[in-house]
């Protein structure tokens, strides 16, 4: 049915992460496909954020392989790259469960810091920039244009010069996503993007995420809000106690007795009722 695609975007093979005696992730394997929204769900303490930190280079896995393949065939072994290379070279961007914006810098500055690599190259690594030589002015114009485009998309144009820390919570979430997108990622990893949002903001977030996917960036998200997960995910992976217990489309996962058991204990009620309390 599909054209013969190269390797999938992200292949996680036998990923294990130990903290002393604790196995936070145990032999986890899954695949995130290009152009899809892949969601990782599971009860608290299932190892979702740990898996995320391994993929984005904040933890070094105890064992296992993380293979990222770009559309042009370039492949990266994420478990071997230093943290900042994962973002810059492999094109994996992330957001954080507890928002990590540069609170004292303006919204615009936040988006420009994200475009540090191309801007820095244009300043001749600082030297030409100080002297006012080189193509820095043009590079900065391009960077500002890109930041403007994202500001319009996340509806923060009017607050561009405000400190990021002064924005309301929902706007900070959107800004963090826009900042991650300004690094031109192929895979955007979102750690609970809907946490703390009201239903309307949550709906806006869905639209934003779908649009990012349609523009060609794949997404991997951890989420507790089943409303978000079930509506926008193309593919869901369910973790419990560091192991994968289910993997499939939203409909398949919803019907999986293992998932229901993990969330409810043994029982046969629908997962949707349960999600209210989880979210």
């Amino acid at each position: 049915m599909n054209p013969p695609a190269p390797a999938p975007l992200l292949e996680v093979v036998d990923l294990t992460m130990r903290f002393g005696g604790l196995k936070a992730i145990d032999q986890l394997s899954f695949v995130a496909r290009r152009g899809e929204i892949t969601a990782v769900i599971g009860p608290n303490g299932a190892g979702k954020t740990t898996a995320f930190n391994c993929i984005t280079g904040f933890y070094r896995p105890s064992s296992g392989a993380l293979r990222l393949t770009h559309a042009d065939g370039r492949a990266f072994q994420l478990e071997r790259l230093p943290g900042h290379r994962i973002a810059r070279r492999a094109g994996v961007a992330r957001t954080f469960q507890n928002i990590r914006l540069f609170a004292g810098m303006t919204v615009l500055e936040n988006l420009l810091v994200a475009q540090h690599a191309p801007l820095m190259a244009a300043t001749g690594f600082g030297v030409l920039g100080v002297l006012g030589l080189g193509g820095y002015a043009a590079a900065e114009r391009r960077a500002i244009a890109k930041a403007r485009a994202w500001l319009e998309r996340i509806d923060l144009m009017a607050r561009a010069d405000a400190p990021a820390g002064a924005l309301p919570y929902g706007a900070q979430r959107r800004l963090e996503i826009a900042r991650a997108m300004c690094t031109d990622p192929v895979l955007l990893c979102l750690d609970e993007p809907a946490a703390g949002l009201n239903p309307r903001e949550s709906e806006e977030l869905n639209t934003l995420l779908l649009r990012i996917r349609d523009d060609g960036c794949s997404l991997l998200l951890i989420e507790h809000d089943m409303g978000v997960v079930m509506r926008i995910s193309d593919h869901i992976i369910v973790l419990d106690h560091g192991r994968k217990i289910s993997d499939g489309t939203p409909a398949e996962v919803r019907a999986d007795p293992h998932v229901i058991a993990a969330y409810l204990g043994e029982g046969d009620e629908g997962i949707e009722q349960e999600t209210e309390s989880v979210a």
């Binding site: 984005t56 990590r100 615009l108 994200a114 801007l119 600082g126 500002i144 010069d161």
Partner: protein
């Protein structure tokens, strides 16, 4: 009503502590009488001090309670101050430019000293104020610059201007050398290691007698020249006085040194202002705000920290070379921890990251004790008191607001509430 009672109790307790402290310290005076030491009691002085503490504490508490009701007040002050700052900067520069015509030689010497600290403050501001890396050993780079100049000039016979960039680069090299081992450290730990680094440099200078002449220091360091014209007591050929047919005067050299340090300090300021508006400076500030977020955006935190250390150290080294040429003599005595502490105090007092704040703080910190010199023994007391009052009234420094490096519209001023102080 209950609110008014608490400050009263608080003031009473403070007065009690004051009584306990001052009764033996101030209340009893020893003197020499005919039969040995006598003891005189001074109850009135104690009473006056205790009363002052009581009233002062009460006023402070009441004022604080008042202020809590109006949370917007500090921000408003900061913003109005910054609006004025637009004119303070150029005004200060104008004063600095014409100062040699206005004051005598002694005051101008003080001006040279203040400007040296302004330059050091601006250099350290890159590391502490922008990148948020708490460096307690900045004097190390000052020392490296000074000794580099003294030793290279002695060995090679090159003049001040040829050695100046070399001294700066050597200091920058040491900045990177220090940077490498401390990259993983943050906050207090970073402060301790940088403090130790400063001491290591000083002790090496003290003990490596064959190179540095140890505690005796290096003398006869060449003075700077103006395009090859020397400043000497005579007016022979090749001297400044001889070339311009002026009567030779030692004041000419002081004026020249003043303009040299003014130029070097302004260079530091210019580079910092330029860098702040560019990716490098912006990423320094981002590092101060959140290191983990920087990493997630593909920023190499290691090289970013090293550049901050290197650029800061470079200007420290330049200032050191100037210090050496101005004094004509250097010894490890001049590079104690006290210097690091003074420069750091200037940066913190000025408001971290604020260029103008550094100038104001350097004038207060270096000029202040000199101004109060007629008060003799009390001057350090008054000075210390002034610092304490400062930290109570404006804990984030004189200028505790941040101007954005770039803006689409008019640009807002960011109050200290949002800006991270930087803990390494």
């Amino acid at each position: 009503m209950t609110r008014a009672k608490t400050p009263l109790v608080d003031a009473f307790l403070s007065a009690l502590i004051a009584l306990g402290l001052f009764a033996p310290m101030v209340g009893l005076v020893t003197g020499v009488g005919p039969h040995g030491i006598t003891l005189t009691a001074r109850p009135r002085a104690v009473l006056a001090l205790v009363a002052a503490v009581f009233v002062g504490r009460l006023a402070l508490r009441l004022w604080q309670a008042q202020r809590r009701l109006v949370p917007a007040a500090p921000g408003r002050f900061a913003i109005s101050f910054l609006a004025a700052a637009r004119y303070i900067g150029p005004a200060l520069l104008a004063v600095a430019l014409v100062l040699p015509a206005l004051v005598g030689r002694a005051s101008l010497d003080l001006g040279v000293l203040v400007l040296t600290y302004v330059m050091l403050g601006w250099g350290l501001n890159i590391v502490v104020g922008l990148a948020g890396l708490l460096d307690l050993g900045y004097v190390a780079f000052y020392a490296v610059g000074a000794y580099s100049y003294a030793l290279i000039a002695e060995a090679s016979g090159l003049g001040f201007w040829s050695c100046l960039p070399v001294a700066g680069l050597l200091a920058a090299l040491w900045g990177v050398t220090l940077g490498f081992p401390v990259l993983r450290l943050r906050g207090d730990y970073l402060a301790i290691v940088t403090l130790a680094f400063g001491e290591i440099i000083r002790i090496v200078l003290l003990n490596w007698v064959s190179l540095t002449n140890g505690p005796n220091g290096i003398s006869g360091i060449p003075r700077p020249t103006l395009f090859g014209l020397r400043f000497t007591a005579g007016d022979g050929p090749g001297t400044f006085a001889g070339f311009f047919h002026l009567a030779p005067s030692p004041a000419q050299r002081v004026v020249f040194l003043y303009y040299v340090i003014l130029g070097l300090a302004l260079l530091t300021n210019w580079v910092t202002i330029r860098l702040r508006r560019q990716p490098l400076g912006r990423v320094w500030e981002a590092l101060r705000e959140d290191e983990i977020a920087c990493r997630s955006l593909g920023i190499n935190v290691t090289t970013t920290k090293l550049t901050a250390f290197a650029v800061g150290a470079f200007f420290g080294g330049i200032a050191g070379a100037f210090f050496a040429t101005r004094q004509g003599f250097i010894s490890p005595e001049s590079f104690t921890f006290m210097e690091s502490a003074t420069v750091l105090a200037i940066v913190v007092l000025g408001g971290m990251g604020s260029q103008l704040g550094v100038v104001l703080a350097a004038v207060v910190m270096i000029g202040g004790p000199e101004l109060f010199r007629p008060l003799a023994d009390d001057r350090m007391l008054i000075f210390g008191l002034a610092l304490v009052v400062m930290m109570v009234l404006r804990p984030r420094g004189l200028i505790s607001v941040r101007t954005p490096s770039i803006a689409l519209g008019k640009g807002e001023i960011i109050t200290a509430d949002f800006v991270t102080e930087g803990h390494g």
